[in-house]
């Protein structure tokens, strides 16, 4: 089983921090005219948010694993709900590599695997080095072409 790049934790922590800070700003905005929120509570919410994000990121990194098995791409992930997914190569419609602004800053990219299944079943593997992402994309593409089925939808 392959793990993600350790730097992915920074990305997740950054995302959680941004969320917590936005929440803090919202609280600060409604403070004067909707209801009184003590400054301590505001700062507390932000700190707790960041701390939770930190714990979540560390745990998620520990459980996130993937593997190329003989017939399928296999992934394990999830903190609250642990999910083991198998995406048979025959079912791969196309494969993307993507990177967002924070990912780019961290030198990471993601591989997104699309199937014809329902929307939320599209699979994203984050936290790969750009080289590894491209390599994975090529491998998956080759495997998908190799095992192409003609009963596509």
């Amino acid at each position: 089983m392959e793990s993600l790049h350790p730097r992915i934790r920074l990305l997740w922590i950054a995302q959680a921090a941004i969320l917590a800070i936005i929440l803090g700003i919202v609280l600060a905005a409604i403070d004067p005219w909707l209801l009184e929120i003590p400054t301590v509570a505001q700062v507390g919410v932000v700190i707790v948010g960041i701390a939770l994000g930190l714990a979540y990121a560390v745990r998620l990194y520990q459980v996130w694993q993937f593997e190329l098995q003989p017939d399928a791409l296999y992934l394990e992930r999830g903190v609250i709900t642990f999910v083991e997914t198998a995406v048979p190569f025959v079912r791969v419609q196309h494969v993307d590599t993507q990177f967002g602004p924070i990912e780019r800053a961290l030198g990471l990219s993601s591989v997104v695997v699309y199937t014809a299944g329902s929307r939320n079943a599209d699979v994203r593997i984050p936290g790969l080095t750009p080289d590894r992402a491209r390599e994975l994309q090529d491998t998956l593409r080759d495997l998908a072409v190799e095992s192409e089925a003609d009963d596509a939808v």
């Binding site: 017939d71 399928a72 999830g78 609250i80 709900t81 642990f82 999910v83 083991e84 997914t85 198998a86 995406v87 048979p88 025959v90 079912r91 199937t115 014809a116 299944g117 329902s118 929307r119 079943a121 699979v123 089925a149 003609d150 009963d151 939808v153």
Partner: protein, 639 residues
């Protein structure tokens, strides 16, 4: 636009013109009102002069849209080009078309017009909508597209045969005509693989009626539980009687007698001897001078079934409709409710009255709401499924239905992703169920790519249909571990607790008292948990996975392994504590977006992982098998 392209019906120019006219009318009006607010020299009084300009511009645009819209049926694709300023040309390959639907509203039926929509698996909407063409043109389009799709399919098969081995022309001619032949091909294929696997399948296809019924009981009883004491014994004779009438109907009525050879003939001179008046009516359209296959009836919804279906199903649309009317005419609705409630002790008006008055008003209003919703729902279902008929043409299912608004459509059998048997508690009580086929397209209604193949029929028949259609053996449902039931008990207790807490909250801020009366909801917890539990089940079959879930709208989905897209084992923190897991089997069926992906809930982790592995393995085996044979996956002659 290429000169050969077809235009829509001239009357659509009129509707487009009016549509855009009334839409664009508002542009100068809104613009004027906004500008008048900002700048002094501009006055809102100019509106009466500006509005006609907007209307005229809209009319011009609508007419231009009509002239710039063209469609064409070429040898490989359906081409549609549209757009007044920004042009879009779209080519849809026949091999990718999921279904072709024709829709006719009341006015359109009077004017002999129809809307044709072509669906593929991609995108969130119809790929092409021809709004609208003449009725004759719509039928021609549907048939033409169907025919060419079939031709493309044949070509593909021939190519495949060419690459895999010699072409047996004899078999090829036969595979497109008869299911019997398909079965033979099936059997030959599976014979080669494993003799044992084909034998039980054969047996389940043509058992005698009693054996059949006994087997069908398996559809309703989980394997481990044995005979369920909850199932009242008097239901058995009813089912038997139902089956007997089946056989009566199988005799004289051609609708159910599709097995007879005469309906399988493709003889161009067969002008429908032995068909009833339905078939004669169909002949008008379906007769083809080139000797192409005619439409053969598979299932007609009888008056009794239509009425039962209408009275036993509740439509979400009816609920939405009632709510809409309520918000639209709140005052009128209140007046009506007050008038109705007054004779039985309701208040004089909303302002005055004792708590008892209000209590009566509330109860009367609720009853009113329920009755009206139900009546609407019955009427809606009746109008939607009036004169429902399902037939087959070659390897496509074709259906039509509707009282005021007519729908008709065709679904290629090879595009069927999964098949679902649905029933609600009322339908289970009278021993009926419905059958739906799911594709990856988007239907004319919001129900995704799901089409009703048999809206409602006796459950024994529906199960037989399901078995014939998919070739699945009679499932022996696995019951989930008892731990699952405990989980639901806990879950529903929490919900009940929340309800009581809310009741407590309400008593704190209103005049209402005795919040603890709300604790009565706890009485519903054990039966609710039990009912959810007993309606869950799954069966790992030879070529299919069968998943059952739901109490209010129970769905039993038959998924061929070769249709599986992804498999996931999910465990929430609660499930991990109990060592349970849910298995999510994703297919390309677009219905999953509305109804949720087929899921085996709360199986023991080890078993869930086993099924997970099994699904993957059998997907690969099935794909290899299918590569070798021309298996359609489903059998079109299923009734």
């Amino acid at each position: 636009m290429a000169p050969t392209m077809n235009r829509l019906h001239p009357l659509s120019a009129v509707t487009y013109a009016l549509q855009y006219g009334f839409l664009w009318l508002w542009i100068p009006v809104v613009l004027l009102l906004v500008l008048a607010g900002a700048f002094d020299p501009i006055s809102g009084a100019w509106v009466p002069f500006a509005a006609p300009f907007g209307f005229l511009a809209g009319v011009a645009y609508g007419i231009a849209y009509y002239y710039r819209f063209g469609y064409e049926i070429t040898s490989d694709t359906v081409d549609v080009s549209s757009g007044v300023f920004a042009r879009r040309s779209r080519e849809i390959p026949y091999g990718r078309i999921q279904n072709v639907d024709i829709r006719q509203g009341v006015l359109q039926r009077l004017l002999n017009l129809a809307i044709v929509s072509i669906e593929t698996a991609g995108g969130g909407a119809s790929e092409a909508t021809l709004n609208f063409v003449s009725e004759a043109e719509a039928t021609r389009l549907q048939r033409e597209i169907r025919r060419r799709t079939a031709a493309a399919r044949e070509r593909r098969r021939a190519e495949k045969k060419g690459t895999t081995g010699g072409v047996d022309t004899d078999t090829e001619a036969e595979t497109e005509t008869e299911t019997e032949t398909e079965n033979e091909v099936d059997d030959a294929a599976s014979d080669a693989d494993a003799d044992t696997s084909s034998a039980p399948t054969d047996a389940s296809r043509q058992p005698d009626s009693r054996e059949r019924r006994d087997q069908h009981d398996l559809w309703d009883h989980p394997l481990e539980s044995g005979p369920d004491p909850a199932d009242e014994p008097d239901a058995e004779p009813a089912a038997e009687a139902g089956l007997e009438t089946d056989h009566d109907r199988l005799g004289p009525q051609p609708v159910d007698a599709v097995d007879d050879d005469e309906y399988d003939t493709f003889d161009e001179f067969d002008d429908g001897d032995g068909f009833d008046e339905h078939a004669d009516r169909d002949d008008r359209n379906e007769f083809d001078e080139f000797g192409h296959p005619q439409k053969q009836p598979l299932f007609d919804l009888q008056a009794r079934e239509l009425l039962l279906y209408s009275f036993t199903s509740i439509r979400a649309a009816a609920v939405a409709g009632v709510l809409f009317v309520f918000f639209l005419g709140t005052d009128l609705v209140f007046d009506y409710l007050l008038t109705v409630a007054q004779p039985v002790g309701g208040p004089e008006d909303l302002g005055t009255g004792t708590p008892t008055n209000y209590g009566i008003l509330t109860i009367v209003s609720l009853l009113n709401g329920i009755v009206i919703t139900y009546v609407l729902s019955v009427a809606y279902t009746f109008a939607t499924y009036y004169d429902f008929r399902l037939g087959r043409v070659d390897e496509d299912f074709v259906y039509e239905r509707g009282l005021l608004q007519r729908y008709s459509g065709s679904i290629p059998a090879e595009k069927v992703q999964s098949v679902t048997v649905t029933d609600n508690p009322l339908q289970r009580l009278i021993g009926y169920a419905g059958l739906w086929v799911e594709t990856a397209g988007y239907g004319p209604e919001s129900n995704g790519g799901s089409q009703s193949a048999v809206p409602l029929a006796e459950k024994a028949r529906v199960y037989t249909f399901t078995e014939n259609l998919t070739g699945v053996e009679t499932p022996k449902f696995e019951q989930l571990p008892k731990l699952a039931r405990r989980r639901y008990l806990a879950r529903y207790s929490i919900i009940a607790g929340v309800i009581v807490a809310i009741a407590f909250g309400i008593t704190q801020v209103t005049v209402l008292e005795r919040w603890y009366l709300a604790a009565i909801v706890f009485a519903a917890v054990p039966p609710a948990a039990h009912l959810r539990y007993v309606n869950l089940g799954y069966y790992v079959g030879e070529d299919h996975l069968v998943v059952r879930r739901g109490f209010w709208k129970r769905q039993t989905t038959v998924i061929p392994y070769y249709r599986i897209q992804t498999v996931s084992t999910r465990r929430s923190i609660f499930q991990r504590r109990l060592g349970l897991a849910s298995l999510v089997i994703d297919t390309a069926s677009s219905r999953t977006m509305v109804r949720g992906t087929p899921t085996i809930y709360d199986e023991e982790l080890g078993d869930a992982r086993d099924v997970h592995g099994e699904c993957r393995e059998r997907l690969q085996t099935a794909l290899r098998k299918r590569a070798e044979s021309d298996d359609l996956g489903v059998s079109v002659d299923f009734t």
